[in-house]
């Protein structure tokens, strides 16, 4: 077999194939429900009601979507430039650490929230700067270095929680001292369990969208991602663009951790992120790396996770069905997107 580029893919092809990918994921979900000994339609229904069936469920889904919007944006920005940042998990924790460092009394000013957000972004950016400089200066593959940094960062968090940041009232449970009230993100509407982190995530998506579509940097990022050699030939500072991309990407991922600590949890613990950094890759790919699309897919992915938790309690199908479906959706989607541009021919 051989792949042949399609000159002008039809609208049916461009929209139909991604829809087919989602339908195929749905089919896998039903098959897994059968394997789990449950009624497939009941399982799908329970996932949907678990995610959106009540006011509480919707708020839970939006809360879960918040860090995913940030990590999804971080990945989307980086992948657009073909910068493979797989270290959003580590950058998330870097942001979370800064939220605790500045939010537990060290900075008793009304400006503590913007300042800790800024510091968190700088920490996340700095963490990605190393791998990117290794890539541009020495040609070290950033996938492996960013992945390895995830493990180093978790060990650093573990050390901090058992040492310098340990909550003396934590009863032996490894968690940090709680944030002071001034350092907490307030709720958007009093009485509704949804914090300002969600609104900030949407603002971040709009900002990234503006950067990508309305600025020179956005144009350069796309050019570098499409063809670095051509971009370099055209006189573009490719390495500088990669570094700027990394700073933006690392900063966005750090906001995920910062908003989880300042908005949702109020303290840092080792289970702050159940893999939000990795799930961000799926969120970004499902959104075709579009920043506004990331908001939609993050809410969708969060809904699948929240809904699967509820379904698992009711139907007994393991909650890990959500992780499987997301991975399947990712693989189906990249294949579908390819097939919108090429057709398979024999020979």
């Amino acid at each position: 077999m051989r792949l042949e580029t399609i000159a002008n893919p039809s609208a049916a092809r461009r929209l139909g194939l991604p829809a087919l990918a989602l339908a195929a994921t749905l089919a896998v979900a039903m098959a897994l429900a059968l394997v789990g000994g449950a009624n497939p339609f009941a399982v799908l229904g329970q996932i949907a009601t678990g995610a959106l069936g009540s006011k509480l469920a919707v708020l839970e889904t939006l809360n879960r979507a918040t860090p995913l919007i940030f990590t999804g944006l971080a990945v989307a920005v980086a992948f657009r430039a073909k910068l493979w940042n797989i270290g959003a998990e580590a950058q998330l924790y870097a942001g979370a650490i800064l939220a605790v460092v500045l939010g537990t009394g060290a900075l008793a000013s009304p400006l503590v929230l913007p300042l800790s957000a800024l510091a968190a972004m700088l920490a996340g950016a700095a963490l990605l700067l190393g791998p990117v400089l290794l890539k541009t200066r020495l040609g070290v593959d950033e996938v492996v270095t960013t992945l390895l940094l995830n493990f180093i960062m978790l060990l650093l968090v573990s050390y901090l929680l058992e040492g310098p940041m340990k909550d003396p009232m934590g009863m032996g449970w490894p968690k940090s001292t709680p944030l002071i009230p001034e350092a907490r993100l307030p709720r958007i509407v009093e009485g509704l369990r949804l914090h300002w982190g969600f609104a900030l995530a949407i603002i971040a998506a709009v900002v990234v969208w503006v950067i990508q579509t309305r600025t020179t940097l956005g144009f350069e990022i796309r050019a570098v991602g499409q063809n670095p050699e051509a971009a370099r030939f055209a006189g573009m500072p490719v390495n500088a663009v990669l570094v700027k991309t990394a700073l933006l990407s690392g900063g966005l991922a750090a906001l995920a951790g910062w908003s989880e600590v300042a908005g949702l949890k109020g303290h840092l613990s080792l289970d702050l992120s159940p893999g939000f950094g990795y799930t961000g890759i799926i969120v970004a790919m499902l959104a075709l790396l579009h920043p506004l699309g990331v908001v939609v897919t993050a809410i969708f992915v969060a809904g699948i996770f929240v809904g699967s938790d509820a379904m698992s309690r009711a139907a007994g199908v393991p909650t890990y069905i959500a992780d499987m479906l997301m991975a399947v959706a990712l693989l189906f989607m990249v294949l579908a997107i390819l097939l919108t541009r090429v057709r398979v021919v024999r020979g």
Binding site: V144, L147, L148, I152, L155, V317, P318, Y320, D323, M326
Partner: protein
């Protein structure tokens, strides 16, 4: 310092080094085969997880230990088939597909574990591989203890030798190496680039899964969710460190295992009382990054690594 010397000359230390190196050697050989054929396989971490799970579950269900190894290998090859179908004929991003395969394989292991053992709080143990008694060798005073290893460990070293022999001494190995350097030339010879690359990824993935199965069938005799813990990513660094050569990669794996075994023992010394234990645990990951930096300037990387091949495109 004398404490470190005491550790380094003890037979139990070297027994641990070889034991810790075993899964690294198996998975590194698997990754090396893939990359020599031109395909970066980031599915390695998840494939090690599914291998650890499938091998253990098969033995728990009553299969003999070698049956468990075979099941693990089969599971790994299945994910290798998925990976290579998407990355070779379709030429999709090896980064994205690899991570997708890792996520899918890891989630499949978790899902199957909860499905088969819904109620248990601590995973059941199996009767693992026992150290082989080798006449005369096992009775030697120091070497006998250091070489007191299970059959899977001996297999790992045999596999490394076999991989080196096939790659450098057989026409098949020549074709695999050539397809990672210049696939168009291989096609011109009338060989199938797709077949060679897919075959390499499938076989390589099988070896990764056996590396994972060593953890459950020989080292820990039980399955935990986090047990692979980044070993796959370390193996990717080991392939680079070994300059894509089997012999050097094995030496790299032993060196890494040496540091790992050393850090576990150093935690029990005065040094461990002063420094946080997390620093010792981070050592393999820090070393992996250092190894990548150290080897970065060398030009031994297969020329067509991560470059998909499409017939008719030149």
């Amino acid at each position: 310092m004398s404490e470190i010397v005491d550790i380094l000359i003890s037979a139990s230390f070297w027994a641990a080094v070889i034991r810790i190196a075993t899964p690294l050697i198996l998975a590194t050989m698997g990754e090396l085969i893939c990359e020599r054929a031109g395909v970066l396989n980031l599915g390695i971490e998840g494939i090690m997880v599914i291998g650890a799970f499938a091998g253990w579950m098969a033995v728990y269900q009553g299969l003999p230990l070698w049956g468990g190894v075979a099941v693990a290998m089969g599971a790994g090859m299945l994910f290798g088939l998925l990976h290579s179908t998407l990355t070779v004929p379709f030429g999709l991003s090896q980064h994205v597909v690899g991570l997708g395969v890792t996520l899918l394989a890891t989630a499949s292991a978790s899902f199957a574990y909860r499905l088969m053992l819904p109620e248990v709080t601590s995973p059941p143990k199996i009767e693992p591989f026992q150290p082989l008694h080798i006449p005369s060798l096992s009775d030697l005073p120091w070497a006998g203890e250091a070489l007191s290893q299970t059959a899977l460990t001996w297999t790992a070293f045999a596999v490394a030798g076999l991989v080196a022999w096939v790659l450098y001494r057989t026409p098949l190995g020549l074709a695999v190496r050539a397809v990672g350097e210049n696939p168009a030339a291989v096609e011109a010879q009338g060989l199938s680039v797709t077949g060679l690359r897919m075959g390499a990824v499938i076989v390589g993935s099988g070896l990764m899964a056996v590396g994972g199965a060593f953890l459950t069938l020989s080292a820990f005799s039980s399955f935990f969710f986090e047990m692979v813990n980044g070993r796959g990513w370390i193996c990717i660094a080991l392939v680079v460190f070994g300059a894509w050569k089997p012999g050097k990669a094995v030496l790299g794996a032993i060196l890494f295992a040496g540091f790992d075994a050393l850090q576990i023992r150093l935690q029990q010394t005065d040094l461990g009382a002063v420094l946080p234990y997390q620093l010792f645990l981070a050592l393999p990951f820090i070393l992996s990054i250092l190894a990548l930096i150290l080897m970065s300037r060398r030009a031994e990387v297969p020329a067509s690594l991560m470059v998909p091949y499409n017939k008719g495109e030149r």
